[in-house]
Subunit: 351 residues, 3 copies
């Protein structure tokens, strides 16, 4: 069982495919696969996009590299020059590992309730269940065991991996990818306390709407709105195990890394980058072009683009224990500092 | 594909339904739907429950509002007066969006192993699998693709959404709601190290028991006890992507927000409110009526009701980096502060 | 519906089974079950492995205890002496709760695509779907509704609970256990920004490989490598709701508790213990025998074995609010402290 590409390409063909300038004595040199720069062999292509991987420029065994013009100037071997080596590499991956073409058709075990409309070129896998009135546009792929509720819409060319759950009225744009275990449209977490302390459930009657080219990671959950819409903008990328609360809006082209939780009714701007395991509070706004580093708690709105952080970083445990205790005394320390400053000022010799 | 309510109601009928006092010149005014106070139109009803939304009292376009008597005194438009506007609103949602009635019956693709008992009024969806000896009480709904283990019990009127997994011997009370992707009864995380550093698995032979009116969010996991029971009390509400470890007990009417992890053998009291992304340690107790704010790490028992917090909040990254470094020096700073205090005391003029 | 063991054993048989030395006047005493030391009754066996549970040595009602020789010296009742009481107890659990034996066979609703090979003794549950070319070794159990991709390999004696998803080319070793809702082999989170700020997807063409005796918790996600392999070593134990990014490697016998996120291309050593809700950054290395306590953020490599920590612990909210504000001023406080030290030094009487 091999997982290498089926076909080899020569350097000239690869450069042509990704729009790179070829620098070699041997444009016919055959490349049989791709690998990370520290692992690549003589028959493989790799890339360097700068940073800590530049050190491999002198030691790599790769048959050729994709490099920026700057890096290429210092590299004696065969290379493909491209202003964005990582982008060019990504394109070449598609050349070596073309997507499997699935024959369109509806698996005989799939269950379609009344009024489901299926456009042409659609592939529906084994044991898929689709609720009444749902519309599936052209070339959609729905993996085995996915459950699609009633009155959903899935836009053209979208791909749902196996075991995805879309609740009723969920809307997915075009060219979206939803990974296994994702749940879109479960009830938002809305309760109001009654006099005896028990909770009264607020019916959650809104829905989830994804724009185009959205990607949703494995086991990520996006709750339906209480009323109205939980909206994920065009080109948003959500990693695995992310929680998006009811009525939240995420602006176009924002990317969110794994295990981040976004509470209800948050409004997150466009082109934001939110790292892993952040906690974004509810009913707040984050403007466009905000970056939030890992494990940050966001408890108020952010009105200015920039990079924001919270949390503390690891240290040896015995030191940390002492410091964590002192954190509990921090306000008192600050007050004692002010007091000392006063006392010292009083002790200074008078002019 | 519309997601608006099917039927309109006049103000008098709505006030009657939710037990509110109607203040209007026009009790026959027709309301066609519900919306948030800042979005509601002239044909829609909304509510204000205080806080930051009070500012919309003067600008809302809503056809009518549900308000407290205090707020109503300052509102010229049509309103329904109720001591708890949010609760009244929640009731009105049920009026406008009545639950879909599912015809009872067992889908022909459902697989019931030997000795499964199904009471009347039960709906079992497509491809559901139910293990031997499981008892399903009256009016239970089990969504498509859910897998119920052997010797489980599901109490009357409970709702399992599609793709729920209950392992063997899991017990669900009455009127519970379990959302898609939830896994109840997977093995607790129990291993003991052997001499060579490898792990010996402790068999997990207990089970999960939910009380009545429990709600479990999407992709939340509750592990079976090692021995005995992992117990979720009556009226507990768990949001999405929560982890509950083996042998943990959560007291009645406690609510837990998304992405919180509760380690094994924790005992959490009743009427607690635990915010998102908290980490509750194992083998500790939290008394009743404790509130824990988001991202807090709880490493010891809490014996007194109150509000508890941990963590740090975001600031601009370049400032945060400096502060995070200083956190590592905090104990030393505290010691230097003590030293300064001594030195200053020594410098003070003697009496 | 009972969840107690089927059969009783006498003390002599139990001691023999787990290799303990029996200290009793009555080796024929019948034990009918197991329970925690504070709950055990006269017909039940329990154990104490030290720590806070030692206090129950005088009050337990258990019919017998498994104890170390030291503890046994202070215990008047019947006991089984073993150098590792927890390990002995774990073995005895297997005696009282033997694994259910499943009859081998392929459920008639299971769908096997072309070229699937199934060794002897395999049990494949209802509605399982297995992709083309996948190899299932002897005595594997695949629970209902699991979806196995194409060209996967599952090693002998492994157990997949219901509703597991393995994407194409995933490789699982021997004697592994994968819990419900786990997703192995979803795409890594790899995108590169284009000039207009939109994201270009890096095709994820690597795979996930698990060693032998790996356990993966419920709803945990392990992403396939961009290129190459995301590798989980022999005997690794992952709890629920964990994220493992693409190209990450976890060394043998490392255990990770729930809700921890490990970013891409991290290399984690062997025999590490990572507690719950930690965030491990990408492209870093953690050496062998490192322990990381709960909620720690790891942003740089760890080259020395030891215990590491980050985060702050709970305190009463009104105090915490003051301290959290001061954290934002911590660097300034440190600078003011240095300034004070200078001023005081200047004020000291000259020698």
């Amino acid at each position: 069982m091999s997982h290498s590409p089926i076909q080899a390409y020569n350097l000239a063909a690869i450069a042509d495919y990704c729009g790179a300038i070829l620098k070699t004595q041997n444009p016919d040199k055959l490349i049989q696969g791709l690998a990370a720069v520290d692992l690549a062999q003589a028959h493989e292509l790799s890339y360097i996009r700068g940073g800590q991987y530049q050190k491999f420029l002198t030691s790599t065994q790769a048959g050729a590299l994709i490099l920026t013009a700057d890096l290429a100037a210092n590299y004696a071997g065969d290379c493909l020059i491209h202003p964005d080596p990582y982008l060019a590499y990504a394109q070449v991956v598609s050349l070596f590992y073309p997507k499997k073409s699935l024959t369109s058709g509806i698996h005989p075990t799939a269950i379609l309730e009344s009024g489901v409309t299926i456009a042409e070129g659609v592939h529906i896998g084994a044991y898929v269940v689709i609720g009444a009135g749902t519309e599936i546009a052209a070339n959609v792929i729905i993996g085995a065991h996915s459950v699609i509720g009633a009155e959903c819409r899935i836009g053209a060319d979208s791909l749902l991996h196996p075991n995805v759950t879309l609740a009723d009225q969920t809307e997915v744009g075009e060219r979206c990818i939803i990974h296994s275990g994702a749940v879109l449209g479960a009830d938002g977490f809305g309760f109001t306390p009654q006099r005896d302390g028990s909770w009264y459930k607020i019916p959650q009657v809104g829905r989830v709407v994804l724009g185009n080219e959205v990607e949703i990671g494995a086991n990520t959950t996006i709750d339906r709105a209480a009323l109205g819409v939980t909206r994920i903008g065009d080109g948003v990328k959500l990693d695995n195990l992310i929680q998006v609360g009811h009525n939240t809006e995420i602006g176009a082209y924002t990317a969110v890394a794994a295990c981040t939780a976004i509470a209800g009714s948050a409004k997150i701007g466009r082109f934001c980058r939110i790292a892993g395991m952040c906690a974004i509070g509810g009913h707040l706004e984050i403007t466009d072009h905000v970056t939030i580093t890992a494990t940050s708690m966001v408890t108020h709105s952010i009105h200015h683009a920039g990079v924001y952080s919270a949390g503390t970083t690891i240290q040896e445990n015995s030191q940390w224990r002492k410091n964590a205790v002192r954190f509990h005394q921090l306000d008192k320390m600050a007050r004692r500092l002010v007091e000392l400053e006063k006392q010292i000022a009083a002790l200074q010799p008078k002019n």
